[in-house]
Amino acid sequence: MANAAPQLIGTSGDSLREAFGKALAAAAQEKTNVVVLDADIAGGTGVHHFRKAHPDRFFQFGIAEQNMMAAAGGMAATGLVPVVTTFAVFCLRAVEQARLSIAYTKRNVKIVASHPGLDVGPDGGSAQSLEDMAAFRAIPGMTVISPADPTEMALATRAVLDFKGPVYMRTGRSPSENVYGPDHRFEIGKGHVLRDGSDVTLIACGVEVARARDAAILLEAEGISARVVNMATIKPIDVALVARCARETGAIVTAEDHNIYGGLGSAVAEALAQTHPCPVEFVGVNDVFGESGEPQELAEHFRLTAPFIAAAARRAMARKRA
């Protein structure tokens, strides 16, 4: 069958992008003002589900992200709710368009970025966006969200469509671990305590939430009680919850599939500096670029997995006692 169509990699299965794409297509049944903008990667971002269900509201922009991003602002100005989709790294290419034509103008545009972080895998360093949350977080009025699993992704998709204002939301490429059951509730701007604990708090977002949960299990075996918080909204950060965790556990570890500068760790540290300063350790990519490899291999190589989060927790606790 040499002439059979090549099998697409990673387009099936329970990835965050698939969960997003399905939830978006379903929500758009009743939300008739939702339109989708694509830059020739609908199969990769999950919006092929929307394209199939609502072809008249699917707009192809070709491989031209700057024009697409600014045009989304124009479509929003006519009363539509544009969902502009591409890989996270190509959102970076259009940051200035998002800044001026979406955020400065307060347009109701949802920028949904697939393929964030090392989770991209074998495409390598050029494709692995480790800077996007920092860049979008620095734009005034931009809400930044990174859901943890397919259940939360579907809830977040509906929530951002109901929310009025510009949003940058990460999905994910790889099959995702389930963290939540069907009774989970998601609210923009609120962190969620996934597991309670009293010695240290592990605050994570995206794919790192499942790893933080696994780290808490490792720590439990050593007699350490670790609280796990899923901080799916990076901006505006849930300051009250961060401060409460600092007060109640006295040490914090952040974990994200992103550069340690400018993302979740920075947001948490900024919140703590103004409320309840305490020792903080940052798990993330240590200000370097990624490289090719499978996502799990890369997570181990760049020290993002549960054992590294557990080690960071021990360091944070040691500083608490010092």
Binding site: A71, Q97, S101
Partner: protein
């Protein structure tokens, strides 16, 4: 200076002399407010504001379906000044058309002013979007044209681009996109004054053959003298009825038009500080007495203290 007039003959259309005279008067008032604002601010871009004044006056006085009594009506035509540094002229035509108080238009670039250095839609909704980063207004116009068409809104979208602006790659992304989507409700006008910030286009990054480029991208192309009001009226009429293509009007203009000492002199592109004598000379060139400038400045001062 007369190259444009000899190169592009006006289409022999019957536009009433009264209409043409009214547009010319609006254009003069636009230039006056722009100069007054730039003088009052102590900075601003006069060259590119003056070069597009006739285009703006023709659009607002004769083409755009905007009701001064209800300017944000959903059915209004949209105009985007993608070359946002010509904001003084946009505020000028708005003042001339009664869409903005003249005193606010002159109070340019001041803290708390709605007449920001580049148009900002949250201050002035008629700006339709915020511009000042070249190329983006054009893309926003494309998004609006797509959005209006999807919602079966018959309004048309107009975007005015600078010539230097089209060196931005985003413009050519947009040019491809608008033709691909057959955006016949989109009209782009290029203020082709041949000068940009540092020097002539030809010395910075040559644009020619400009009309051929747009034709090759699938656009309906017209080339006119951008100071010939009859030609502008005719071209806009043709642009509204050119099949299923987006339309571009390449308007050959003179940078600094109307103020002789600024005409075709690159140094008047950038943000400059005008002296009172220069502002008076500019008003004289426009056929206006210095007392008109005084009155405009007094009005702007009242806004500041009011």
């Amino acid at each position: 200076m007369a190259l444009a007039a000899t190169k592009f003959a006006s289409t022999p259309e019957a536009f009433s002399p009264a209409l043409i005279a009214r547009i010319a008067e609006r254009a003069r008032d636009t230039r006056a407010v722009a100069i007054a604002g730039i003088f009052h601010a102590g900075s601003g871009h006069p060259g590119g504001s003056l070069s597009c004044a006739d285009i703006l006056a023709t659009l607002y006085a004769a083409e755009l379906n905007i009701d001064a009594a209800n300017p944000m009506d959903a059915a209004r035509d949209r105009f985007i000044l993608s070359k946002g540094h010509a904001a003084p002229a946009l505020y000028g035509i708005w003042a001339a058309m009664g869409l903005m108080k003249q005193s606010e238009a002159v109070r340019l670039r001041k803290l708390g002013s709605r007449a920001q250095g580049h148009p900002h839609v949250l201050d002035m909704p008629l700006a339709e979007t915020s511009t000042g980063s070249l190329g983006q207004g054009f893309s926003v116009a494309i998004g609006m044209a797509l959005g209006l068409r999807l919602q079966k809104n018959a309004a048309r979208v107009y975007a005015l681009l600078g010539d230097g602006e089209i060196q931005e790659g985003e413009v050519w992304e947009g040019a491809m996109c608008a033709a691909h989507h057959r955006l016949s409700n989109l009209c782009t006008i290029i203020d082709y004054n041949k000068l940009q910030s540092d020097d002539r286009n030809a010395n910075i990054m040559g644009l020619e053959p400009l009309a051929d480029k747009w034709r090759a991208f699938g656009w309906h192309v017209q080339e006119i003298d951008g100071h010939d009001i009859t030609a502008l009226l005719a071209a806009l009429k043709t642009a509204a009825d050119c099949g299923d293509q987006p339309s571009v009007i390449i308007a050959h203009t003179i940078k600094g038009k109307g103020v002789s000492y600024m005409e075709d002199v690159p140094q008047w592109h950038g943000s400059v500080k005008l002296t009172r004598a220069q502002a008076d000379d500019a008003f004289a060139a426009l056929g206006l007495p210095a007392t008109t400038l005084d009155a405009m400045l007094e009005g702007a001062m009242e806004v500041r203290h009011g």
